[in-house]
Symmetry: C2
Subunit: 267 residues, 2 copies
């Protein structure tokens, strides 16, 4: 396989840019094609059949870009449609944020008491808990849907009294279970890390699935010997299905750097 | 024209059910076909071109249901795509929530100082202010985008400290302008009426565009002599593009009664 081929990363919108950011830091020589389905975001409130259909379309698009690896950077798609991606990808390795987050959570949990927060669809799918129990049947997993966190992040209220009050309300039941780890089961949530750390307290370790996904990607590229050997500056492409008003502003907040050119795909 | 034909009401999701509710109360003998584009909601963050394209598809669908009147029960579509609907509708009368809200606001404003709240797209379109200035060039209009209100309503936090704090923050600049009227420029907002009334204070009159749209519909049916003369119990159809998890619960909260059968359209 030509190791200079890009990694395909996709999400229902812009949240997956936190995964791209972690990949850029961990794997600076890898080319990346990012796909964000901004015309149909959010997926978290849609039915499984609809999400599977959209996911298949995106997978086929990225396979046509000749990617060497696919990363599902959307917890909702990873929770309910990962099999759709793997079936279509064939030999191309497929990673996802849930696999990466579940492994990191179980691997680093002392007392084996783990909280998972995410969108309603991710939490209702029970995908994190199922995967963590496969990895270690002894862990106790407590889940909490936090539907307001995504709009709060997109509003830019990252350190706002409203966000703090909302976090206190959402985290109360899982903190009452004395968890030692808190998995950020949505790619928007890394932007709330400082606030969530404060609300959760110093005894709770935060598991950022963007960072853990970049780690898993690095391991997989090594193991399959497909890491890019070129030391040229890596190229990045951003493809979206719609360019909404605040896309550039919000996208750059997620990515932590300038977005450059964004291509709009007409379907 | 056969006056027993239904009224077509549409929205990007379920918010327009507040307009249906107002229509049911004001016009109990009229048949209604409601269309909610739940697979692609929300429109408020999408580009104008995308919204126009989606709006045209929905209009064509409702015209095929042989409606006698169309009501755009979505502020975003009314703000940026009302012309698309009118072009396709030909002789069929087309009403929209912005026209209804703007008329009621200007008609009832004492001091002529009016606040409008809505989604970012509605507010940025400036459609309410433009229409109100056409009706009365002397009015002063102050607009404020409130992107968190829709998710707060859908979370069911209708009377919650987080919602109150958010409303205080959003309304602060318009209340500082000593407005006498507050137009609820989004079909989700009628569910926040009691809380908004409290935050805005007794000197501010709330203009609920669901109620004002039902009034305008009643006037228009009378004027065109197409009100249903049958006194049989009216039939209601609900057509959506996706049936998400909490659709029934949230929908019934908006409608204030049981939804009955919901049809899912495969596009």
């Amino acid at each position: 396989m030509d190791s200079s081929r890009p990694i395909g990363v996709f999400d229902s919108g812009i949240g997956g840019l936190t995964v791209v950011r972690a990949l850029m830091e961990r794997l600076p020589f890898e080319r990346i094609v990012y796909f964000g389905d901004t015309a149909r975001v959010p997926y978290g409130i849609k039915s499984v059949a609809t999400i599977e259909h959209f996911t298949a379309q995106i997978t086929d698009f990225l396979l046509r870009q000749d990617v060497k690896m696919l990363i599902i950077a959307c917890n909702t798609m990873a929770a309910v449609a990962a099999e759709v991606v793997r079936r279509r990808a064939g030999d191309i390795p497929v990673l996802d944020v849930i696999e990466a987050g579940a492994r990191a959570a179980v691997g680093g949990s002392g007392a084996g008491r783990i909280a998972v927060i995410g969108t309603p669809t991710t939490v209702n799918s029970n995908a994190y808990a199922r995967r963590m129990h496969e990895l270690d049947p002894a862990v106790r997993v407590y889940s909490q849907a936090c539907p307001l966190f995504v709009p709060l992040v997109e509003e830019g209220w990252l350190d706002h009294p409203v966000t703090r009050l909302t976090a206190q309300e959402y985290l109360k039941p899982v903190l009452a279970e004395e968890v030692d780890s808190l998995v950020l089961g949505c790619t928007h949530y890394p932007l709330l890390k400082p606030l969530l750390k404060e609300v959760a307290g110093p005894q709770v370790r935060l598991v950022d699935s963007a960072v853990t996904t970049a780690e898993l990607a690095a391991d997989t590229l090594q193991r399959l010997a497909i890491a890019n050997t070129s030391r040229d500056p890596a190229a990045y492409r951003y493809v979206v299905t719609d360019v909404p008003l605040r896309f550039q502003t919000v996208g750059e907040r997620f990515l932590g750097r300038s977005l450059g050119t964004v291509e709009k795909l007409e379907w």
